[in-house]
Structures are given as structure tokens and as C-alpha cells.
């Protein structure tokens, strides 16, 4: 039972890191970032190349930064010009990026499944008393929770965090009060891409790399954000862990239903609380 909770936490934490990025970008730019899964996949592949040549630790540090830079560029030369246009233009841009990234990955790394070895110190299992559990998964849980705690603290306590929340609430008023909304948005998009990058690197030694990995997890991440509440950051965090845990437990207790669990959860939330666990009452 405890092992299943750990299993749920490990996958939940991966969803947590991914969905925080997605929710951040939506909250501030109003963009449903279809490219989020592709960025996650790209990060995993870049991490594969870097850790093959140097070490996994260097990949863990550099890949999120590289992708945050990419996010900065996409915001500066893409999203910023589309503010005020129809949401479909945003969808076209982010959907387009998905196709481009998928083709680049297939051309550079090929279509076959690849794996990253965890660093030697995390490769074995750890005896927890009640069971032995892969050390790398414990590492993923710890890093994921730490990063999200840091993100929450940054949003709640820092000056930039205040600007982010203010711009998300009311872009125009925040701008009128002297907040440089474009700069805040760029920071948030970079952060979102960086978080997708982090999730990709963490997923490398945990799951298997394939060009389809981004699409597969993106659907679950969208469910997380819808269940958690569009426009909220804390809601998707709770929803990610909830979906991870419920999924792990359902796989054991009700295996035939397990595949439907995230969808059922979404259905229930949309019927009973359409704005999600912590969604805004008013439309953006």
C-alpha cells in the first residue's frame, strides 16, 4: 500500500512540475500551450545527449536553463505579438511548435525508444523498512516537491511574484500601476518552459524516451489543469498529486477501471465544480 502511494507520488510529482508550467503560462498569457508536451520531450532528448557526453547532473542543471531561454525567445518574438488576437492564433503557434519540435527530434535522435541511465548514486534501490524502492524515484519525488514549494514561495513572497499575480488578475490595471507586464509575461513563459524542461530531464531515467512521450503526457497534464482549475497554480498542484495517487491505487484495486480514472475525475469535477478545485470564479 505504501509502495503504491510512493508510485502515485512519483508520477504525480512529474505531472506537478509539468502542469505548474502550463498553468503559469495560461494564467498570465492566456495561452493554452499545446507545445508543452513537445518541450518536455525535447528536454528529455537534449538531456540524453548531454548526459551521454558529460553527466546527468550537468543535464539536470543546463537543460531547464536552455529551455527557459527558448521560452524567452518564443515569448519575445511570438506570443507578445499575438496578445489581443484571437486565441486560435495562439493555438496555431503553439500547435505549430509541437510539429516542428517532433520532426526535429525524429530527425536528430531517430524514432526508436531510448533510455537514460540514472547516475550511479541513484541507480539502486533504497530500503525504507517496509519495502525497497528505486532510489531514483525517491529523488524525483524530493526534487519535484522542492521545486514546487520554491515556486509557491516565489509567487507569494517575492516582488516579481506579486507582479505575476497582479498581471494575471488584471493585466490592464497592473500595467497602469507601473508593472512592466511584457517583462513579467516573458519571465513567466521562460519559467514555464524551464519547468517543462526540468520535468523532461527528470523523466529521462524514470520513463522511456520516444517521440510520442510528449503527446501521451500532455493529455494527462491538461486533465490536471482542468481538474485543478484554469488560472490557478495551487489547484493543479493538488490535482496532479491526486491524479497520480488515484491512478496508482486504482491500478491495484480496480485494474479494469484504472485507464478511465483521470477522465472520470475530470467528468466529476466538471459536473460538480466546473471551475475546478481552485479555479477563478470569473472568466479571464
Amino acid at each position: 500500500m505504501f509502495v503504491q502511494v510512493l508510485n502515485g507520488l512519483a508520477f504525480g510529482v512529474l505531472l506537478l512540475v509539468l502542469s505548474s508550467g502550463l498553468a503559469l503560462i495560461f494564467g498570465l498569457r492566456g495561452v493554452v500551450n499545446f507545445a508543452h508536451g513537445a518541450i518536455y520531450m525535447l528536454a528529455a532528448y537534449v538531456a540524453l545527449s548531454i548526459s551521454d557526453r558529460t553527466s546527468f547532473w550537468i543535464a539536470l542543471l543546463t537543460v531547464p536553463i536552455l529551455l527557459a531561454l527558448a521560452g524567452l525567445l518564443i515569448d519575445r518574438y511570438g506570443l507578445r505579438f499575438l496578445v489581443g488576437r484571437t486565441p486560435l492564433d495562439m493555438v496555431l503557434l503553439t500547435f505549430g511548435i509541437t510539429f516542428v519540435v517532433a520532426d526535429v527530434v525524429q530527425t536528430v535522435w531517430g524514432t526508436e525508444a531510448r533510455t537514460i541511465d540514472p547516475p550511479a548514486v541513484l541507480a539502486g534501490t533504497t530500503d525504507l523498512g517496509f519495502a525497497t524502492y528505486p532510489t531514483y524515484r525517491l529523488f524525483v519525488i524530493a526534487i519535484g516537491l522542492l521545486v514546487c514549494a520554491g515556486l509557491m514561495a516565489w509567487l507569494k513572497l517575492s516582488r516579481t511574484g506579486l507582479f505575476v499575480r497582479a498581471s494575471g488578475d488584471d493585466r490592464v490595471t497592473a500595467g497602469a500601476m507601473g508593472v512592466n507586464v511584457d517583462r513579467v509575461s516573458a519571465t513567466v513563459v521562460a519559467l514555464g518552459f524551464g519547468l517543462a524542461g526540468l520535468a523532461g530531464v527528470l523523466a529521462g531515467p524514470y520513463l522511456t524516451l520516444s517521440p510520442a512521450m510528449g503527446t501521451e503526457i500532455l493529455i494527462t497534464t491538461f486533465i490536471v489543469v482542468v481538474v485543478g482549475g484554469l488560472g490557478s497554480i495551487g489547484g493543479p498542484m493538488i490535482a496532479a498529486l491526486l491524479i497520480g495517487l488515484v491512478n496508482a491505487l486504482a491500478t491495484v484495486q480496480a485494474p479494469t477501471l484504472a485507464a478511465y480514472v483521470p477522465y472520470l475525475l475530470m467528468l466529476v469535477v466538471l459536473l460538480l465544480r466546473p471551475q475546478g478545485i481552485a479555479g477563478r470564479r470569473t472568466a479571464l
Binding site: 502515485g8 525497497t132 528505486p134
Partner: protein
């Protein structure tokens, strides 16, 4: 916000329409030139979870076409390949095949990977005056209750796969087994077959798990496995890689005396994992590059000389499919798909599997299947090395009675 929803809906609907738009079923009107080239529609997934299988199929098909053209063609005809991406979906397969058959006049279809894709296309073949060779999908139904006069399969079906697996189940003396299988026809058929065989052997199937196709995290499944006796894995493609990798991380696979993988221990899987702890694992396959027969050896040698690396399993399957089209055309003395289909029924011909027969009753090939053990080669790479051959008379002795071809 409301706008976002409306536009998202519109975007998704647009996507769905664009894939469905070209999947009508109009009959073909244009004729092929009887003296012209043999046009072959190579319909494979170029993206999605089966993209790697698609790439392997294309390599084998291309190699066969190049070889035939270099030798002056087949029955005096040059081979021309037309390619399309089926996106790994049934709708995509139908649209891509129809386009190549009707627009490019490529009446010989090959390369589709999964059974659901094939099942979407086979009912249309006769109306299009086309012929399809199945080089990978294993579903019994394709040569059973859904068989058609224009579909021929050159690889093992689910029953033959299970009968091959039975070799190891009876050979290995385990008092109990666990099983994990993909939750669709392949995994379900495999598990039922395994359970029956194990019962006959007087041992027991203790844990029986099914995972949905494309499962990313196998943690919850791994924690349910007992680690005692033997384990049968009926997963394919990325699922097999994922499961074996995570199983090694959890230390679960190492606990079993025997790990037996139905079809999934392919060259691509072993290359992706590249983990010495897999040495000694047992596997089965419809064809293996290490199979002990002269024709396989000659093919592997010629292929390696040209490409600098050996063929993966599905490269061989694609090549075998092309050999079947060629044998049918030579027998018929015609490139009309109808004539070739008639010629193929009951035809015995030479292939990389040695002498094989295309069974007339259900269009299922009668060919050997193989069992093997994972070994580390001199080059330091892992390979599933064939250790025994299961003859056609044992792996799939009876035509499927559910198949009515007329």
C-alpha cells in the same frame, strides 16, 4: 475564456475532419498498365508509438525493391515504391492507403504495423482491386472471422505466437508463473494461451496483470508482481522497453528464475535498454536474424554488407512480405492484384524463412517461428540469439475455421 473554448473546439474539430475527409470508400476506376512497373504502396507509421516499427518495415521493403530492380525486376517489371504516413491510426491507414491505391495506382499494399490499422483497410481491398500483405499485425481475426480474399499474412498470428511461447513454458520447470500483458487482443490472447499451457503443465499462474497500451509508469504493476518462479511478459514496442527498464530499477525482474518475453525482446528493445542484467532472458519471435537456416543467413549477410549493420526483426518481415508479392506475380505471370491473389493461394515458395506455403484456406503463412535467449555478442551488444526453431506444423497446425473466403 469562452472564446478560448470555442476556438479550441473548432481547432480540434478541424483536425478530426481533416483526417476523416479523405477516408471515403469509392471504387477504383483507373487501370494499371499490364506491361508497366509494379507499384507498391508502402503505408507505414512515420510518427507515434509505432514509428520505429514503420522505419524497420520501410528498410526491409526498400532493400527488397532495390535488390529486385538490380536483378532486372520481377517477371520483366520494374518495382516502384510509393510511400505514405498512416500516423499509426486506423483512420490514417485507410486514408493513406486509399490515396496511394487510387491516385498513384499502387495496388500492392504493404508495411502497415498494427492489427487495428489493417482491419480498417482490408474490407476495402476488393473494391479498390488491391492486394495487401500483412507483415506485422498478429490478430487472429485478420485471418479468421474478418479474413478477406485480398489479404495475406506472412508473420505469425496470435495463436502461432502462443504456441511458440509454449515451447519455453514446457521447457522451463517452474512451479508458478506471473504474467503482465498489454490490454488489447495481443496481450489478452497471449495470457489466455499461457494460462492454458501452464495448467496443462501442472503449475499455476499466480499474478495476472494487464496494462493499457502506452503505459508510461509501470510502478503500480511492478509492485504487484511476486518475484517468484517465472514471469511472462506480453508487451510490445515502447511498452516492453518501459516495463523492462522500470522492472530492473525496481529489482523485480532480477528476482525471477525465468523471464520470458512474447515477441517484445526485439533488436530495438535490447538496443534501447542495453542492460547486461537482461542476459539469459528468453524470447520468441516470428522471424529472427539469428535463425539457423541458410536463406536467413544469406539475407542477413547481403543486408549487412549494404547497410553496415544487421537487420532488425521487422526489416526481415518487410522483406518477406515483398518476397511474397514477387512470388505471387511470378506464379500468376501477371501484375493484376486479382490474378496474384489467386496465384498466392496455396503457393509454396522460397523465402528468408526457407520454403514456406501461403495457406489457401485462410491466407495465413505456414512458416517456422523461433525461440531464443538474450546473449552478449563479441561487439558488447545484446542480441536475442535463436536457440530453437518451431516448425509450422507445430506453431499453427490448423486453418482458422472462422475464415470464409467466398
Amino acid at each position: 475564456m469562452k472564446n478560448t473554448r470555442v476556438c479550441l473546439g473548432a481547432a480540434l474539430t478541424g483536425l478530426m475532419l481533416s483526417t476523416a475527409a479523405c477516408s471515403g470508400g469509392a471504387a477504383s476506376t483507373s487501370e494499371q498498365d499490364a506491361d508497366g512497373p509494379i507499384r507498391i504502396a508502402v503505408v507505414t507509421p512515420q510518427s507515434g508509438p509505432y514509428a520505429e516499427y514503420g522505419a524497420e518495415q520501410r528498410e526491409g521493403i526498400q532493400f527488397a525493391a532495390d535488390e529486385a530492380n538490380a536483378n532486372g525486376g520481377i517477371d520483366g517489371h520494374k518495382i516502384e515504391l510509393e510511400f505514405a504516413d498512416d500516423l499509426g491510426t486506423a483512420e490514417g491507414a485507410l486514408a493513406a492507403t486509399q490515396r496511394l491505391v487510387q491516385e498513384k495506382n499502387a495496388r500492392f499494399v504493404i508495411g502497415l504495423v498494427s492489427s487495428p490499422e489493417m482491419a480498417a483497410v482490408t474490407p476495402k481491398l476488393e473494391a479498390w482491386d488491391a492486394l495487401m500483405i500483412g507483415t506485422q499485425g498478429q490478430s487472429d481475426d485478420l485471418t479468421g472471422k474478418s479474413c478477406t480474399s485480398r489479404y495475406f499474412r506472412v508473420t505469425a498470428n496470435d495463436t502461432a505466437g502462443v504456441n511458440t511461447l509454449a515451447y519455453w513454458l514446457t521447457e522451463e520447470d517452474e512451479s508458478q508463473w506471473d504474467s503482465i500483458a498489454a490490454d488489447y487482443s495481443f496481450g489478452q490472447a497471449s495470457t489466455t494461451g499461457v494460462e492454458d499451457t501452464i495448467k496443462e503443465e501442472g503449475s499455476e499462474l499466480k499474478v495476472k496483470l494487464f496494462s493499457p497500451l502506452g503505459t508510461a509508469d509501470f510502478g503500480s504493476y511492478l509492485s504487484q508482481l511476486s518475484g517468484k518462479g517465472g514471469l511472462v511478459v506480453s508487451l510490445a514496442g515502447g511498452d516492453a522497453v518501459n516495463f523492462l527498464k522500470q522492472g530492473l530499477q525496481f529489482g523485480v525482474l532480477q528476482k525471477y528464475d525465468t523471464v520470458l518475453v512474447n515477441t517484445g525482446l526485439s533488436a530495438a528493445t535490447l538496443k534501447a535498454l542495453n542492460d547486461d542484467r537482461l542476459v539469459g532472458a528468453l524470447g520468441t519471435n516470428s522471424w529472427m536474424p539469428t535463425a539457423d537456416n541458410a536463406e536467413t543467413k544469406a539475407f542477413v549477410e547481403a543486408y549487412t554488407e549494404k547497410n553496415g549493420h544487421g537487420p532488425a526483426e521487422n526489416v526481415g518481415n518487410g522483406y518477406l512480405g515483398m518476397q511474397t508479392i514477387f512470388a505471387g506475380i511470378e506464379e500468376a505471370g501477371s501484375i493484376s492484384p486479382g490474378d496474384v491473389a489467386k496465384a498466392l493461394e496455396g503457393l509454396t515458395y522460397d523465402s528468408i524463412q526457407g520454403e514456406v506455403t501461403m495457406r489457401a484456406e485462410d491466407h495465413q503463412i505456414e512458416a517456422p517461428t523461433y525461440v531464443g535467449t538474450v546473449k552478449k555478442g563479441e561487439d558488447g551488444k545484446l542480441a536475442l540469439v535463436a536457440t530453437a526453431t518451431i516448425p509450422a506444423s507445430e506453431n499453427n497446425p490448423e486453418p482458422n475455421p472462422a475464415c470464409r473466403l467466398d
